[in-house]
Every structure is written in structure tokens, then in C-alpha cells.
Amino acid sequence: MPSLKDLKNKIASVKNTRKITKAMQMVSAAKLRRAQDAAEAARPYAERMSAVMAGLAAGVGKSESAPKLLIGNGSDKVHLLVVMTAERGLCGGFNSTIVRLARARANELMASGKTVKILTVGKKGREQLRRDLGAHFVGHVDLSDVKRMGYSNAQGIARDILARFEAGECDVVTLFFNRFQSVISQIPTAQQVIPAVFEQAGASAQYDYEPSEEAILADLLPRGVATQVFTALLENGASEQGARMSAMDNATRNAGDMITKYTTIYNRSRQAAITKELIEIISGAEAL
């Protein structure tokens, strides 16, 4: 049985924790709104880009002269997994779900005899993957100083990926990130960016191309990679804040439950102590 003083200290400490988690939840809620706005603002560009590229890709087809970014370099030996996670923890299962998906994919690829390389974006994923897949790391992008995710951050990462592809260091590139569904649900997603895949069939409209179709496609594909990285970063940012918000909401509620429980125990043992003292006094008086 803990003493009354212990219980009192415990209650005070849980109350402090609750204040912190509550504050974190509020901060995340504000950040989430901003992150969602950013993701929303980026959507028209990404959608248009993908639609036009799909149209172009359908036009150019699978011919020999098609750009490598579209059809791949004819091999799928070396896979580069770009694992995007948060820089900070305390956001529920956010980081673990991405890492789990990436790890499963990596093991699956290795089991089928492929080479796996991992590029981590964000500190948390790197820490979680280091133990079993640390030997496959080829690079790390640190975004901990970035206050507001900008297109230039995505461009930096895309340039890194493209340089590796062009140097023949990898054949297939896949992004791992959490797609934002709602505050309580984020979907871990694996998206292949090289060779490019398109969700919808190409637009049928007949366009004049200036310069040639191939030239435009060659110009657009690297931009498409950057756009997809950017979209992934923004989705991830919104997901992170959403996950943190619901995690902190849970924590706040748990702290509240804990305080109620400890307060009950505290009151009960206080009363027991009083009763005990009373009995002692009364039986002492009776003995006289």
C-alpha cells in the first residue's frame, strides 16, 4: 500500500503529464490544419502533371527510344526504397507503420534475390531500421531544420534519387510514406516512381506537342519525380500531425483516467487512516 504522500506526488506528476500532452495535442491540431492546407494547395499541380504525363506516356508507348525513367533500364535487380518518416516521435504508430511496410518489402525483395538499398528521410525511420537493415543504408536526408516543407526540399531529394538512377546504382525506386486519410487513419503506402507508373489511363485528347513528344516527356519525367516526392512529403507531414494529435488525445484521456483512479485510492486510504485513528481513540477510551 503506497503512503498518502506517495499517492499525492503521483497524482501531481500525472497532472503535469496531462498538461503536456494536452498542449502537444493543441499544437498538432494547429499544425495539422496548416499541413492539410499545404497538401490541398499542391494537389492541382500534381494531378495535372500526372494526367499530362499519362497522356504523353500513352502516346510514346513502350518503344525502345522511350525515356528510361518511363520504361526503366531493363532490369529490376537493385531496388531503392525511400523511407519517409518523421523527425520526432510521440505520434502513435505513425513511424512504425511505415517502417513495418518498408521492412516487409525489403525482406520480400531480398528473399527473391534482389539487392535492396535504403534511403531514409527523417530520423525516426533510420533509427528503427538501423538494427536489422543498417547495412543497406545508402543515404539519409535530414529535414529536422525545415520549418515549412517547400518544393525545394522535394527537389533536393528528387535530384538525389535521379542521380543514383542515372549512375546505375538502382533500377527501381519506391517511396514509402503515410497517405493522409483522416485524423485517426493514415494509410502506409508504397509508391513506385521509377519506372513511372500511372494510375489512370492517358487522356485521349489529341495535342500538338512543341517541341516533340519525347522531348517534353524527357523534360517532364524528372519534374514528375520531384512532384511525387513533394506530394509524399506533404501527405506525410499531414499524417504525422494527425497521428500525433490522436495519440496525444489518447494520452490526455488516459492521464485523466489515471488521475481519477489515483484520487479514489487516495481518498479511500485517507478515510481508512481516519477510521483507524478513530477506532484506536475509541477503544482506548473504552479500555479505561
Binding site: 518544393y151 489529341q206 495535342y207 512543341e210
Partner: protein, 130 residues
């Protein structure tokens, strides 16, 4: 009097404009072109330059770098890697762009393309400075 077409200008980070315009002057990679209502469907890549949209409220210009324009009979959508309204352009921004380009020129495999981008930017600075 030609009718209007829907003009959209989007950059990766935000939508800059979505208005009715009577004509749009586009700095295409192969040369400038003006899109008006009924233009043949065209897709062209952009070179760094000044994009000008003329609407009932007057003309509005933007400095754009990289990206492409999709022209149809009823609308123009421009997807620019970077787009800034002309009146917000500062010399510092242009210097930054040129610095980036010269960095790219140093490592580019395609010397001609990089040199052209550089020349376009210098021309752009001259045009903005007028």
C-alpha cells in the same frame, strides 16, 4: 471580339491564378506564343520568361521558370516549377535563379540546354529590369 478562355496558373505549392482571360502570352521553349480562344490543343514546355495574361481587368504578368503549358480550345493551364507575380519579383530573386542556373551549368551533362537556360535567365533579368 474573341471570347474568353479559362486561365489557370499553378505552381507545386499553390494556385496563383484561375481567371477568365482573353489572351495568354506564353514563353514556350521553342518561342513565345499567344493562346486565344479556339487555339489548337497544344502542350509546350516553358523556358524561363514572362507570362502575360490579358483579361477584362487588365494584363497581369508573372515570371515563370520551368514547367509546361497545356492549351486547349477553351482554356490554358500553366504548370510552372516556379511562378512569381511580376510586381513581386526582386533583383535578389533573379540573382538567386541565375546563381542556381550557373551551378547547374557547371555539372550539367547537356551543355547546350544548360547554356540556353542561362541565356534565358539573363534575358529575363534584362526584360524585368526595363
Amino acid at each position: 471580339m474573341a471570347g474568353n478562355l479559362q486561365f489557370d496558373l499553378v505552381s507545386p505549392e499553390r494556385r496563383l491564378a484561375s481567371v477568365q482571360a482573353s489572351e495568354v502570352q506564353i514563353p514556350g521553349a521553342d518561342g513565345d506564343l499567344t493562346a486565344m480562344e479556339g487555339h489548337a490543343p497544344t502542350i509546350t514546355t516553358l523556358r524561363p520568361g514572362i507570362l502575360k495574361a490579358v483579361s477584362n481587368e487588365g494584363a497581369k504578368s508573372y515570371v515563370v521558370t520551368g514547367g509546361f503549358a497545356e492549351i486547349s480550345a477553351t482554356g490554358v493551364s500553366v504548370l510552372a516549377e516556379r511562378a512569381v507575380p511580376l510586381d513581386e519579383v526582386t533583383p535578389a530573386l533573379l540573382d538567386q535563379l541565375i546563381a542556381d542556373a550557373s551551378e547547374a551549368t557547371a555539372v550539367a551533362s547537356d551543355k547546350d540546354a544548360a547554356d540556353k537556360a542561362m541565356a534565358d535567365l539573363v534575358a529575363l533579368r534584362a526584360a524585368v529590369g526595363q
